[in-house]
Amino acid sequence: MSTSTANTPKKHLSKKIVLYVLLAVGVIISIFPFYWMVIGATNPSGEIFGIPPSLLPGTYLIENFINLNESIGILRVVFNSLFIAISFTVLSLLICSAAGYAFAKFKFKGRDVIFFVLLLSMMIPYHVTLIPLFRIFVELNWLNTYQAVILPQLAYPFAIFLMRQNMQAIPTTLLEAARVDGAGEFRIFFKIVLPTMRPALAAVAIFLFMFQWNNFIWPLVVLNSGEMYTLPVALSSLVGLSDIDYGQIMLGAAISVVPIMVFFLVLQKQFIAGILGGSVKE
């Protein structure tokens, strides 16, 4: 309707078809690897490599699962990943929102300096800290523990930054009114500030969870036994084997991604905001 009158309906239609074909190709490329995961996970190793390859889901899911559990202890590995990602998310959310609240709603000595250093640290690649961090955890005798994976990134500068940006929207008069009514500072934080921040907390929580669920290089460095491995580390250990069972690997890959995908399809908006770190607001 809004395009120029020079376009005849026919020209319009052919344009439309070209656009849709291009987009459809894009969709197939985006989605096919996920479909292939399902094919691989439900077929014996040989089938995905058959000529022609089998294009339909098979019935080998249970066998692949049993094999996968035998080789990497998938149940334990999923538990490790979930435990680490969830406790990291909860703790980090609390720590970062508290700091964000202080930066947004209070004046105190050193505030601007601390905040500036936090922002500055976002420019430095995380890998610079790997070796000293490793030495710290050797010193503490905490190699191969959950806390070694959880602790280093709890004070996540980007999460603090996002919480501060969002908390600036809280009206100061609301906080003052609560104080006049005799509410303590902790009460104000937990009963007024955090509840009004629910959408921002959801987005930041998703961001933090995804970071830790997918985290690879640091867990690879500090975890050194199979029963402590997280999913990405356990999967990478399967790849290194000379005799690879692709059915198992694809099932492991599917396990690492399917729950997140379901979660994503349900909570699309928060998810996109979360993964992009709130840089997109609709």
Binding site: L19, L23, F49, P53, I95, L130, P132, L154, F216
Partner: protein, 306 residues
Amino acid sequence: MSNMENVNSEHAQEKTKTKKKWITPKTFPYILVFPAVLLFVVFTVYPVISSFLLSFQASEGGVMSFVGFQNYIRLFNDGLFYQSLINTFTILIIQVPIMITLAILLAVMLNSALIRFNGFFRVSFFLPSVTALVTASIVFIILLDGNYGIVNYVLSTIGLEKVSWLNDPFWAKVSIMLVVTWRWTGYNMVILLAGLQNVSQDLYESASIDGAGKVRQFFYITLPQLKPVILFTVVLSTIGTLQLFDEPYILTNGGPNNSTLTVIMYLYDQGFRYFDFGYASAIAYVLVIIIAVLSWIQLRLGSDRD
């Protein structure tokens, strides 16, 4: 405002009295930031400084001692380090422009008035961004398998020769670029799409009244208006690519013949395979400098033009 603390605390109970003394709007912010600052100092500030100092040290019989610029001198004479830099930059220079161009085109298509079901397309393109890099790389190992991978199968059915994706130095780099592009294009597209939705519709209307076609509108309105957002995605992708690790580690383990060895992979090898902490720290600091300089150049180029 500031006299909260002397609200008749004299007559209050013992418990509230101490509470009032300690937790006031003046002290509370320190309590709030304390955990974050403590963790940040221990696990970020200290390591960043320590790593800098380590880069001037070497281990002699298990004890670290200062050796001046020795690590850096060794680094500048290390062929493998240059190789890792060249590999990383090759991937950067080829992959990032292709991916950003694709992301812009997809975003413009989805923003077009001609297209319906944009929600469906957007979700589909974004889906790869929720997969772990490790998972994405693993799936691509299987898709790109030289003998039995489906990609080669499709190539052979249309009469093309099979490609030795992961075992040939050239194609191994291409494979890394394929995974990275698959994983991140939709992510950048969503950022760009949000930028596009902020471009005023009036600009396009007056342009089409003046007789400018769609292509001209794209180059004279869309691209200039989108410039800050494009710059943002370019800087993010550049920093990300310079830190490439998961994909080459899984897909090719740096091979064949170190053709996909990246800077961070080399750092990892030096630090955690050979436990040469001083040398690995020097690599890290060279990377810090490269990232700082590149980001600065990109931001300068982005703000100076026009």
